[in-house]
Symmetry: C2
């Protein structure tokens, strides 16, 4: 791993251990250069990483300070690891409602940045968190990138399968957030009433080589869904 990433992880560890708690301020760059025995730019790369993660912020002429945030029970909206990763302490059950291999029509082809007629997996899942009906997911995967998708995979974690077995590396994603009134079918699956709110997040996910491989629409149960986002300098 790169030096600056090691430095960044180590600083996070030290923050978690409350090593700087009394002042809420990190050591100066020069002190960290000494401590880690690396160049100034390496320290600055590490600090820049932590700044964009919302862990710290800087005041020119003054120093780097630790941010205090309360994100209990919140899902980071900019995360690309999937819910299984976001809730390590809970048990997630996935009820696979259907898996189909579709031929893309014009609308789907546009959505998936692919050709008309390309094979696309369509997977419908109900995602249950500790007996709570948490979310309803409608997800599409390009078969060129995901050659096979079966019930046994979708019942566990699709994202773990893609990363660990297919060795896919995620690059970036676009997300659209809105709210809807649930129809009868959606409401029944989420054990809510027709017309109740649903928090909708539509994703378009790309690999690190820039190829789009997945779009999904997830309707979250408004009683449990709580997301957080950050705006940073």
């Amino acid at each position: 791993m790169a030096k600056y990433k090691n430095v960044a992880s180590d600083i996070i560890e030290r923050i978690k251990k409350h090593e700087f708690k009394d002042i809420g301020k990190l050591p100066t760059e020069d002190e960290m250069i000494e401590y880690y025995n690396v160049s100034r730019n390496t320290i600055r790369s590490a600090l820049k990483t932590l700044t964009s993660q919302g862990v710290i912020y800087s005041r020119q002429g003054s120093g780097f300070y630790i941010r205090q945030r309360s994100n209990d029970n919140c899902i980071p909206i900019t995360g690309t690891n999937g819910l299984t990763y976001d809730f390590p302490h809970n048990t997630f059950t996935n009820v696979v409602l259907s898996i189909e291999l579709l031929k893309a029509d014009e609308i789907l082809a546009k959505k998936m940045f692919c050709e008309v007629g390309d094979s696309i997996y369509f997977c419908k899942r109900l995602r249950i968190l500790d007996d709570k009906k948490f979310a309803l997911e409608f997800s599409y995967y390009n078969q060129k990138i995901v050659p096979y998708l079966g019930k046994e995979i979708a019942e566990k974690s699709i994202y773990n399968y893609l990363q660990d077995n297919l060795k896919l590396k995620f690059g970036f994603a676009d997300k659209h957030i809105s709210a809807i009134k649930l129809n009868k079918e959606q409401a029944e699956l989420l054990e809510l009433e027709t017309g109740d709110p649903g928090l909708v997040i539509a994703d378009t996910v790309y690999l690190d080589n820039g190829m789009m491989f997945n779009t999904s629409q997830v309707i979250y149960n408004y009683k449990y869904a709580n997301f957080y986002a950050m705006a940073v300098r």
Copy 2:
């Protein structure tokens, strides 16, 4: 302005002019070093800025590529400029429902990171976009930082006032996103039905010196509100 920021803006301009459209790829770093007559690190700072903005992405050993995104009519959730900025082509009307100067009780003090008894402005606004009842805003400002807040300011743009008149510089913000069922009062103001969905975004906003100065809860009309967020490497 810093060189790398100028380079970044210029690259954005060139992308908008479709200068690289045929290949969707930027010139190599060496070519840009030549073109802009700056060092490699300066070019790389500019490219890093654009990458974190979601404008481009990089493939090691290959090059920098332009991202295509469709964010029509969407509000960037990580924006800190306020709605007036996000909708430059529309007319925003703000109906000021109330402005009060409160003494912080324990709950409010905790929310505002201030002392019990501190003076806090509380402002309730209905925000209307081209005759559409767009959002209902409940916003708190610490009087230590915002000494005065009046109806004449809140009817225009509070954020413009803070930036232009008080010369405040925004640093970063935390946001929490959820969905609720509207109660009778909220629904009437937004011209919706009781029990209809509301998309809620709760903000905690900090100045660039790390001081928290504003929290707000905004209930968006689900018929119009459409936000976007990005996850980037």
